[in-house]
Symmetry: C2
Subunit: 106 residues, 2 copies
């Protein structure tokens, strides 16, 4: 993938799609965290929650990488996972969308 240039309007679209997906994913993690915490009965259940949070935090940190050099990969993965829709990305150049779709199909 060549280093793509991002216009100002593409950057705004990207930022909005990225932040929405991140906030939704954090909300999902929060909901699961609260479910696990409230169901916890034994000490081992607490340590499982600790493990769940550590894994979730590492995944979010590595998945949501807002560098323009990485962003087509990031959106490709988010599209594959259903965390962004193609409609969220309307306004990006056709070559970016095509790369994103290709990554999504991997």
């Amino acid at each position: 993938m060549h280093a793509a240039k991002w216009s100002d309007s593409e950057k705004r679209i990207a930022r909005r799609a990225f932040e929405s997906a991140l906030q939704r994913e954090l909300s999902d993690i929060m909901a699961e965290f609260k479910r696990l915490a409230s169901a916890a009965k034994e000490p081992d259940d607490m340590w499982s929650v600790e493990q769940f949070l550590a894994t979730a935090r590492r995944e979010v940190d590595s998945k949501y990488d807002y560098r323009y050099s990485q962003l087509q990969y990031v959106f490709g993965r988010l599209l594959r996972e259903g965390r962004v829709a193609e409609s969220d990305l309307q306004g990006l150049s056709e070559d970016k969308l095509s790369t994103i779709r290709r990554v999504a199909s991997l």
Copy 2:
């Protein structure tokens, strides 16, 4: 501290006092964990809970060391913290109790 011999009856007393203190401490951690989890609103609150659990787990692992070579230190600390009472330790030899009290006073 010399390596003390533990009689069978002392071992039973020690095991019971140790397990009770450990279970109470785990219950305290569980209660605080549930309080923090249910109060969590923002993603950062989740990562604070993760940190709380990691710290609690490391402290419990290092504090509750049931090796007879360590047990007088362990009970000394637990006595200082109010997690065991002297009455829980009745039946241990006077020299063990005296070491435990000395450690408790540090």
